[in-house]
């Protein structure tokens, strides 16, 4: 299947500062792509170029068959963006914001009202639909911003930090609605610096740092790409015999084995799920009784740290 979004050497400079640096990335139709990176990574600038709000300095993006540098009006018809900062004027109410947005997007009156009602009820903001924006909480304003796109249901839906300031229940609701939108055939781009959000929603994650694309792959494969990223902790009834560590090191996916305590070993390995049967088999063969086994996999923060040498918090601070 041809990609619905194709970024080719996409670059944006503001004076001497390069916000997005030669981005080459393709997004398949119907997938959820997470754009992960700290603040200042270039996610929002990339989104603004996809939405034809900013013109690329170099390179281009193809939205469907349309080159945004040449056919911006046509490209824009396929895209809807829920911005990081809610774009509301203070005199607006959620209802008027959504009604106007839907009207500009060409939704007929009956359908418009039906969709707005459904989205407002689903997001739990039906009761405040006629209140002006300045009296709404940050989380509610964010929901209204997300609601615009859920009402519009564009072919390509872009969400920039869709659940920032939203409570846990609201987060899960929004995630569910984004998945539904994808299931209906929309392609989703999710820009976030929230690792868990990227992990649970995205089929692929593109990690950006300082305007560059570092890596793009499925979350599982990104985690597996860290050598020794999985950790298996085995606790024994008694002490840990010397030969166990030697034998464990012989298992192909094991990278390192260390004795954490007198009766415990920590095994650093790749693809723990494949190695676990072999570890169990080894312990059985050696006649050792394990008291407990605990498996932990790397987080996306570990993935980010692996590719940048920084945790996402450190990168944020810089």
């Amino acid at each position: 299947m041809a990609p619905i979004i194709r970024m080719v050497g996409l670059t944006k400079r503001f004076g001497g500062f390069t916000a997005v640096d030669r981005l080459d990335l393709e997004v398949e139709e119907g997938e959820i792509l997470g754009l992960l990176g700290p603040n200042g990574a270039g996610k929002t600038t990339t989104i603004l170029m996809l939405a034809t709000v900013l013109k690329p300095t170099e390179g281009t993006v193809y939205i469907g068959p349309y080159d945004v540098t040449k056919e911006a009006d046509k490209a824009r018809r396929l895209v809807g963006v829920a911005f990081q900062e809610p774009k509301l004027l203070w005199v607006d109410s959620p209802w008027s914001v959504l009604n106007w947005h839907a009207k500009v997007c060409g939704l007929p009156s009956g359908e418009r009202r039906r969709r707005i009602r459904w989205v407002l009820e689903e997001l739990g903001i039906w009761d405040v639909r006629f209140k002006s924006a300045h009296s709404l909480s940050g989380g509610t304003r964010k929901r209204v911003e997300v609601a615009k796109i859920l009402v519009q249901r564009p072919k390509i839906a872009i969400f920039d930090e869709p659940t920032a300031q939203v409570d846990v229940v609201g987060k899960h609701k929004i995630w569910g609605m984004i998945r539904e939108l994808r299931d209906e055939g929309s392609t989703i781009i999710l820009a976030t610096n929230e690792l868990h959000e990227a992990d649970v929603l995205s089929q692929r994650i593109a990690i950006m740092h300082r305007g560059k694309l570092l890596v793009c792959d499925e979350p599982r494969r990104l985690k597996d790409s860290i050598p020794g990223g999985d950790v298996v902790e085995v606790s024994f009834e008694g002490g840990v015999p010397e030969m166990v560590t030697e034998e464990l090191r012989r298992i192909p996916t094991v990278v390192e084995v260390s004795a954490a305590r007198q009766n415990q070993v920590k095994i650093y390995l790749n693809r723990a799920e494949e190695a676990l049967p072999r570890i169990a088999e080894l312990l059985l063969r050696l006649g050792l009784q394990a008291k407990s086994m605990r498996v932990s996999e790397p987080s996306l923060d570990d993935v980010f740290a692996h590719y940048t040498g920084l945790t996402i918090e450190e990168a944020q601070r810089r």
């Binding site: 709000v53 824009r76 997007c105």
Partner: protein, 255 residues
Amino acid sequence: MRALLAVVERDFRYFLRYRWWIAGMVSMNLADLFIMALVYARMTNPDVVVDYFVFFAPGLTVTAAFAAAFMIGREVNMELRREVTHYMLSLPIERWKLAAGRVISGGIRGVAYVAPLLATTLAITNAYTGRLPTPPELLTVLAVLSSLCLGTSGLSIALALSTKSFEKYVTARSVVYYALFFCSTVFYPLSLVERVFPPLAIPARLNPVSCGADLSRALLLGWAEPTPFMLVDVLLYALVFGLLAASSYARTTRK
């Protein structure tokens, strides 16, 4: 076309939200007319202006139309500062339609604002001259005021999109206000400008605000013959600044 109408409707809806403020502004305009102009009427030399009160009434209508149409710029500048412009530019609507919608809504705001003042002016000029404009004359006055409002709306949008700084915008707005009103025939006739400030006579003659005011006076009071130049000048003003606003919207995407 539906999207363009939606843009117009939104801006006009925002305008109506300020209805009490608008009512206050109209009252102040009327106070200008009934206090200031009446006082000035007793102070001015009748050889220069026969009756300043009647002279000023059509000028005030033009001033008010200009000020009301300029309001759209304040909102566009606020949108620029709050990055609501990003949202507007991301909408599935052609840029020219977005720009045209905003310019037209600014124009409609001006016309709506000026309606009570125009009615007052008609009452005053009727009381003074005993005549009412014919329907074509009235339509011409409305067309001139509408064109002036459209041009002003375009000018204010172009100005608003030129800077993110509110201070710079307000300063530029004041400069435009003072330049256009000072070098105009809104407050004093062209003959006075030619006599007292000769270098300003040509700008005052070309100024669309002057043309709007003089054309209104000609048609409502019958004090002078309306000239095609006045109409063309105001129409050109609307066209040039309408296009400037559209190109300013297009330019914001190239930053």
